[in-house]
Symmetry: C2
Subunit: 215 residues, 2 copies
DNA sequence: TAGATTGTTAATCGATTAACAATC
DNA sequence: TAGATTGTTAATCGATTAACAATC
């Protein structure tokens, strides 16, 4: 695996490849060429070959790529099945939905539980996992060396909890708070899902359609 | 407004600008230069000026940009306050969380209600909005000329509902099903939030850190 | 062997950055 | 007026695409 200076664009395409390959595998397909894959995904064959070649040589001339082994390679690159541990910070509707929709254990991660401030739900269970008092968050992260925090708290609490998580040595934050988190120099990785950004891109295109029509 | 061939990268930065400007306005700031804005957002001043200049001349030499009016301009470009109508398709945990977290009406959109297949929740209300039988989805969309469907159904139902929505003339689908929707030639716009893609980008970086360390 | 298809090098295209005249 | 800062043109950088020898 080379993986020296792989561009962001390439990295963000990898999960799409993985999804597509899972799809093809599910359909019982065995092999695919960059040409066919490109047509199915709306990419050029060149780009696909360039992307893969950032990480190694996964194909075979005259044959293409073996779907099953390519899947495994890309999964490996993306860090699946490495047993990374995760916790949920903020056990509201959104957080609960995420835990229930992602089968973390099957996917090769270890989900350890949730944290919340509401006494009503502390001590209960979500999908079988315990809900702890957020007051214990720092100690828990330190003790269990938690890798990933899924942050689904109200925006006003986002930075405070980020600070606690950073102090406790969390490695990554999956951020759903719709704010930019301050993590400083060698703070944790942050990957954000900004719902409103995505929604606004949608309405941008609608607005553009409307404006074009008016002319 | 020129808006001829604006690149995707530019479009995806616009919501970030809007968030930042809202932030600054909230802090009582009145004006900002591309230089300061760049430093705060991690972009070059050049890029910021280029981005804005795709849509018009919003600044003033020697002064910079007026935060309030720039906010309004970008909001306008992004189609806020145009009264676009939206429905929720799939009233599970995730969908409910989205409706409760986005105050659609305040944000300038019109939320019309939710649709589900579960008789238990059909006829109930979410955040005050009615939950209809999904059997009425097509007719409802046609009748109310609904602009946007928020699709939060299980993946196996995604394509069927997409087909119904397209047939009924929906203009855009905000897709949370973690699948690629087939919409054909002049089907609706699709903007997807792929949770798993985002999560895998996170674990990619963790895995890379780990591999680098091992060496 | 002939056909298919890779991995990689070179060419092109587009996006970002730098520079600067215009002007508030 | 002098200083600041824009909008835009030109230069650079990086990403995508094309081409092709290597080879299964």
């Amino acid at each position: 695996m080379k993986r020296s200076n792989v561009s962001n664009n390439v990295i963000r395409r990898l999960p799409r490849y993985l999804r597509k390959l899972d799809d093809l595998a599910g359909k019982g397909e065995e092999r695919i060429s960059s040409d066919k894959l490109g047509r199915q995904m709306g990419l050029t064959p060149s780009q696909i070959r360039q992307d893969f070649s950032c990480f190694g040589e996964f194909g075979q001339q005259g044959y293409g790529y073996n779907i099953d082994s390519l899947r495994k390679e890309i999964g490996q690159i993306l860090g699946t099945y490495r047993g990374y541990s995760a916790i949920l910070v903020g056990a509201g509707k959104l957080g609960t939905a995420l835990v229930q929709n992602f089968d973390f254990i099957i996917e090769g991660y270890t989900f350890l539980g949730a944290f919340d401030i509401d006494p009503e739900i502390i001590g209960t269970r979500i999908d079988g996992f315990p809900v702890y008092d957020v007051a214990q968050l720092g100690d828990f992260v330190r003790e269990h060396k938690v890798d990933i925090a899924i942050l689904t708290v109200p925006r006003h609490a986002a930075q405070t909890l980020t600070d606690i998580l950073r102090e406790a040595g969390i490695r990554a934050i999956w951020n759903f708070t719709n704010t930019e988190l301050e993590v400083g120099e060698d703070g944790p990785l942050v990957e954000s899902i900004h719902f409103s950004d995505s929604f606004l891109v949608l309405t941008y295109h609608l607005a553009q359609e409307d404006d074009r029509e008016k002319q």
